[in-house]
Symmetry: C2
Subunit: 344 residues, 2 copies
């Protein structure tokens, strides 16, 4: 079995371990942070940046907090950092090594702001630079493409949102998540068998909106890393503002469409894409919508929209893994990538 496949299937255990070990720590951090900030600034790259995209919708919707994604080069290269008045400054990095991400958190501390590191390595430079640390408890991630550290990062964001709001109902939903990840993975067996259809695709589009805007980005990144297929993520709204012009008959489009507030918008786009005779790969718990797909990737029905990104990314991880193997590529060691990327 590939390391990547093993790590994909570790995700339920990682999230369960994280929730068991960090719930108290995160409640304490939320208590200590109190009213020390009015908005968040998050610095991250690659997969971690996609977790930050989730945070924008999560903290915006449930904690009424504006979340800005940092522009690290202003800190690291230009050395002209903005004033961070009112901000909680967060760095997210699996390795905790990338100097540009560390530089944003260090500047936050220099300006007297509260700072938080979310990392799989609590002894990393990022963790050392921050006032507070939440470890991911994912264990060593050996495949170059991140999977379990991504869903663990999402779970940390979810835990933090619940703790800041002291929301018992959402905490109960969060605790049910590991079992739902198991269900999702086992429900995808039939879809995985049909991925062979895509052996010769050269490009694809991945669409998501709201909470699952992050999922679209992360699935596109996995596909690019693992399969060398050119995959582009869009929100359904941005997609209509130009890129839809690219769609021709047979163009593969992955729709990330769990039931939620944005469903109607995605359904309308699915109809437009059907008229353009696009090839639709649909990730959803909505069975009438799945029935219209060329490849249906079903999700369990019980996952609330705010947690749906944790399950909705799984079909994309499996798609990347299996397509890589169908193409004769090594899913554990994509050509041209290293596990730890340090950028300035």
């Amino acid at each position: 079995m590939s390391i990547l496949k093993k790590e994909i299937h570790e995700q339920p255990a990682v999230i369960a371990r994280l929730l068991a070990h960090e719930q108290g720590n995160v409640v304490d951090i939320a208590g200590e942070l109190g009213r020390r900030f009015t908005h968040m600034v998050i610095a991250a790259r690659g997969t971690s940046d996609n977790a930050a995209r989730y945070a924008q919708y999560l903290f915006g919707s449930h904690n009424q907090l504006q979340v800005a994604l940092a522009t690290p080069s202003l800190f690291s290269l230009y050395k002209r950092p903005p004033k961070l008045d009112g901000a909680l400054v967060i760095g997210v990095s699996q390795s905790g090594q990338s100097p540009d991400i560390v530089s944003v958190v260090a500047e936050g501390k220099r300006q007297g702001r509260p700072t938080l590191a979310i990392t799989n390595d609590p002894a990393s430079p990022l963790a050392e630079a921050a006032e507070f640390v939440i470890p991911l408890h994912a264990g060593p991630e050996l495949a170059v493409a991140a999977t379990k550290t991504y869903t663990a990062s999402l779970a940390v964001m979810a835990l933090m949102s619940v703790a800041l709001a002291a929301d018992d109902k959402r905490m109960d939903q969060l605790v049910a998540l590991p079992e739902q990840v198991v269900q999702t993975l086992s429900g995808l067996t039939e879809a995985v068998d049909r991925i062979e259809r895509y052996r010769y695709i050269e490009h694809c589009i991945v669409i998501g909106r709201g909470y699952n805007y992050a999922t679209a980005f992360e699935i596109a990144l996995k596909i690019k890393e693992l399969t060398r297929v050119i995959a582009q993520p869009y929100s359904s709204a941005d997609f209509r503002h130009g890129p839809i012009a690219m769609i021709q008959e047979g163009f593969p489009v992955i729709m990330v469409a769990p039931t939620g507030v944005v469903s109607a918008d995605l359904l309308a786009l699915a109809k437009e894409l059907a008229k353009l005779r696009a090839e639709q790969l649909i990730i959803s718990d909505d069975h009438p919508l799945l029935a219209q797909a060329h490849l249906a990737m079903p999700l369990p029905a019980e996952v609330p929209e705010w947690l749906s990104p944790v399950v909705a990314v799984l079909p994309g991880q499996l798609f990347g893994l299996n397509l890589a193997q169908l193409k004769g590529l090594d899913p554990d060691n994509p050509i041209g990538l290293r596990k730890v990327t340090e950028t300035l």
Copy 2:
């Protein structure tokens, strides 16, 4: 002549007109805003969103202001807007019509925040929703793909940054810009003649960083809209965190590399790409770097880095226009797009 070509060549006149008409207004707005905000939140889609990306580096570097890009669906679909304490809320839209962008500015006003509309239509719903308006003075933009309203939006951001900082030296640099746009366009004649080489490309990557991260996004969007070629924008840092795995021999990469703080980083990436035998199209004022390109797209040397996005996008506009024509496509009316896109 196509409408698009005409509008591309109108850009020097538009920027000159904008500076002549709006300098006083923008200085007044900057004075009235004074200390009413500590950071900015900008709502925009498509081309206007790329102008917002420029604003992140511009106001961050020169005004020490953190700039967040809004997540419009939180306002329009989820109806769970974040608290905007401390924010100046800005909407950018050529038409001023898109309901999701209007909803962010309206919510800013409802929360008692200062609000600003940047639009080509001062009678639009966006302009009516905002406390302050800066019109683009671009005249009617008839080609579906935006060109002159993009550079005019950049010029408004530049004018606003100069006014907030009361920076006479940068104002002098800004006033020189229309003439530099003329020079850039006339200096690209030879490059334009060689675009035929790319008649059969199916995809490309566009790389920029810092100020020209925005330029990479905007050039990629023009190429997608006009030519149906799949074009993906990246910062050089994000590109190393995964997508570089896609690069194989002959893969076309457009490097947006005017001289500046990020030059060394882009130069290092250009060397890595040369080892991977990528096809490099380089936009720069650095002649040794241009000499290494498969297609050199020269810029004039005198443009300071903070204004370079206004000239660096021009080769991309001409690339999109000419490649569309070489492919027998109508550059004024790309298939599947309308001029005004209204999204919720």
